[in-house]
């Protein structure tokens, strides 16, 4: 146990740290009640401070309610229950010597040692500035000086020499080492963030520097790795939805009494209705039509749309999907049952469907008009239509009559807009006009989408 955690072990400070942690988690949308905080405190008391990893797991078990909260929890935990400051007993290390030790640690894949080296590296190479107020700690600078990625060949050679293994698994070696280096970079980032937090006050950093959970990431702003996480968030969504719909349908099938058939059945018992006959309801099969904007301006959203489309296509039998930019084309045929490959799908759609005329920017007016003309018969009184897009018309005619016509023919039309409500109507957005004709809803992240879809879909 080092000095800091011993100090952290004393009474009031612990309570303060714990409530600080809880506050920070709450500000990131993790719902924690007082009961959980008390449990966490009891867990703290039981586990003690000797092993930080146990403490982390214990607090996670008592405070969290779901797997997706973990990516928020871990960085916040790092801030409130930091590893000891600096490495015990060593001064600022020489760069080459540290690289040597790092290479050895990477070869041995020693997590604990890597964490200590990350702390040491930030200590030795991450500091910048000298006057108080302008100084700080930078993970970028640390990694730039240390260049852990250049150690790949060296680590590989030392592993090959040591193990002498040349079998099949050897071809995985490079990827494995890359993974370890990536882990080290992450550790350096966490360490630098922690040091900045010490200086600036951890509450503020905890609020700002922790990425939101995947289901709260804005579609339009999602980066590459976040998209991958989003994908994991969406895939179970459609299945969840399908089971919920099935349950609702089942429930709707029971209940109301068919009077005519009850009376008829009662003839055999002399007019006494012994056995009530329940109304049999013909299951209404949901017919879905999806109209998706796949233009560049909503790229993040349309990738995500494709995931959703694929997922719905797998779960419902009657789904027709149309994609548009400024021309519209049916892409239902391009969807393959069971292939959850969004990248491939949007590429296929772009390659095989005619979506653009003489320019490449989206034109809702022309596309919607073409849809009602060419595919008008796809929409009937039992159809629910989902339009997915930002309603930005690039200054051209929004073609409101086409939308009105669509709204009249379909059972329901729902428009999901990936932009914030406050943005609607700014610039070339025709959202308010469309919103008067069909229900338009803000749908900016997977959380909102999940709530929306389960409420909106027909039974």
């Amino acid at each position: 146990m080092n000095a800091r955690s011993a100090e952290a072990g004393s009474g009031a400070d612990v309570a303060e740290r714990l409530t600080g942690l809880v506050q920070a988690l709450r500000s990131h949308g993790v719902r924690i009640g007082t009961g959980e905080t008390v449990d966490a405190a009891r867990a703290l008391a039981l586990l003690g401070f000797t092993d930080r990893e146990l403490l982390r797991e214990g607090l996670a078990a008592t405070l969290l309610h779901g797997t997706d909260q973990r990516p928020v929890f871990d960085p916040v935990f790092e801030l409130y229950f930091p590893r000891g400051v600096g490495a015990p007993g060593t001064g600022p290390a020489k760069r080459d010597e540290l690289r040597d030790r790092l290479a050895a640690a990477l070869a041995a894949n020693d997590r604990a040692l890597l964490a200590r080296l990350a702390a040491e590296a930030v200590d030795g190479f991450g500091g910048y500035g000298s006057s108080p107020g302008s100084d700080g700690w930078s993970s970028y600078q640390t990694l730039d000086r240390l260049r852990p990625q250049t150690l790949l060949a060296r680590v590989r050679d030392s592993l090959r020499e040591g193990g002498g293994e040349t079998g099949f698994a050897d071809r995985l070696l490079d990827d494995e080492i890359r993974g370890r280096i990536e882990e080290f970079r992450r550790l350096v980032g966490a360490e630098a963030r922690r040091r900045v937090a010490e200086r600036r006050g951890r509450d503020e950093i905890a609020r700002r520097a922790v990425a939101p959970t995947a289901d709260r990431v804005d579609f339009l702003l999602a980066g590459r790795t976040q998209l991958a996480e989003l994908r994991r968030a969406v895939q179970p969504l459609a299945r969840k939805l399908a089971t919920r719909l099935a349950a609702r349908r089942r429930k709707a099938a029971r209940g109301s009494i068919d009077l005519r058939r009850t009376v008829r059945a009662s003839l055999s018992t002399g007019g006494v209705p012994m056995r009530p006959v329940l109304r049999r309801r013909r299951p209404a099969r949901p017919e879905l039509v999806l109209l998706c904007d796949v233009s560049g301006s909503v790229a993040g959203f349309s990738d995500f749309t494709m995931l959703l489309v694929q997922a719905l296509h797998d779960q419902f039998s009657k789904v027709r999907v149309f994609a548009f930019v400024n021309r519209v084309d049916e892409v239902t045929g391009l969807l393959v049952h069971g292939a959850a490959d969004a990248d491939g799908l949007s590429a296929r759609i772009r390659a095989e469907a005619t979506l653009t005329g003489w320019h490449g920017s989206s034109d809702y007016g022309v596309a919607l008009g073409e849809f009602t003309q060419r595919y008008g018969d796809a929409v009937g009184p039992r159809t629910t239509v989902f339009v997915l897009g930002d309603a930005r018309t690039n200054m051209s005619d929004p073609n409101l009559p086409a939308v009105r016509q669509l709204a009249e023919r379909a059972r329901r039309v729902h428009w999901l807009n990936p932009e914030a409500r406050s943005q609607w109507g700014t610039g070339d957005s025709a959202a308010p006009e469309y919103a008067e004709l069909v229900e338009m809803r803000e749908c900016r992240n997977a959380l909102q989408l999940g709530a929306l879809i389960s409420r909106l879909l027909p039974v």
Partner: protein, 285 residues
């Protein structure tokens, strides 16, 4: 039940369950805080096995409620034995209505189902509520009463309260979102895929005949597959299956042919097999 987190690990290991620190910590806390344990994670990482292992350590009866769509109160809690009740009524023809009524709703005609069984009796028990996410929302409501107060109300008999709390493990594959109220009552544990070191030990323990170097390669290949973007990545149970397959095939090292021929043990979708083959260069012979 346990003295420390290390004690949990050691005793779980004795039963053949190698636990990560996260698992051991949470089991320890669940025991000490007396709270149910909600375990989530991909299929085949040992969620159900954990409950079995804990039951074995405690020398407890394992009571299992397997949830499915449509599981209801009478399957989860208790039922009246109607046939026996009818028999009783027709056997004693001369008695008064009141006497018959008090008699047929007595202990003798009660059929306890898992939840009721788990809170009655004095011997230690582990209650496993498996695949909680498969059950309907109404059942969750039922679980709330049982899990927070460890009591069950049978209208004809009154409230039955546990004299000895069972150790409760709920598992879920997250196919449906469990309610916030239920999550609140539980300690939450996510069992993911183990790190390479732990998985190696698990393979060595479960398939001891396998050569050490080969076990190492097996774990590395599985690790590489998990890093790929597949529809269903291999789980621990698949790793063990694969190790057993290799043993049966008499393979002493991994090469393209062996891996290609046995990839079906690890991957369950054809497009995954194709993708993995391409990434692992299995066709470049």
């Amino acid at each position: 039940m346990f003295t420390s987190v290390d004690d949990v690990s050691a005793r779980l290991a004795e039963t053949g369950y190698l636990a990560s620190p996260a698992v051991a910590t949470t089991v320890f806390l669940a025991d000490r805080l007396g709270k149910p344990l909600l375990v989530e994670g991909p299929a085949g990482v040992g969620k159900t096995e954990l409950a079995k292992a804990v039951a074995e350590i405690a020398g407890a009866d394992l009571i299992r409620l397997q949830c499915y769509e449509g599981v209801d109160e009478s399957r989860a809690l208790y039922e009246w034995n109607h046939a026996k009740q009818l028999l009783r009524i027709s056997a004693g023809r001369d008695e008064t209505w009141d006497a018959a009524r008090t008699d047929i709703f007595s202990e003798e005609f009660l059929l306890p189902r898992p939840l009721l069984t788990a809170i009655r009796g004095d011997n230690p028990k582990v209650l496993l509520i498996d695949e909680t996410d498969k059950a309907d929302v109404e059942v969750e409501g039922l679980l709330l009463e049982v899990l927070s107060d460890f009591q069950v109300t049978v209208p004809e008999l009154g409230t039955i309260t546990a004299t000895r709390r069972p150790f409760v493990v709920l598992t879920s594959n997250a196919s449906r979102e469990l309610s916030e109220a239920l999550r609140r009552r539980c300690l939450f544990l996510h069992i993911g895929f183990p790190d390479a070191e732990l998985e190696r030990r698990i393979v060595r323990l479960k398939v001891p005949e396998l050569d050490t170097a080969l076990a190492e390669s097996v774990v590395r290949v599985v690790g590489a597959l998990r890093a790929m973007d597949l529809r269903k990545v291999p789980s621990v149970s698949e790793t063990i299956d694969w190790a057993r397959t290799l043993l049966a095939l008499g393979a002493d090292t991994l090469d393209e042919t062996v891996v290609r021929d046995s990839l079906g043990v690890l991957l369950k979708h054809q497009d995954d097999v194709l993708k993995a083959s391409a990434k692992l260069d299995l066709d470049a012979l």
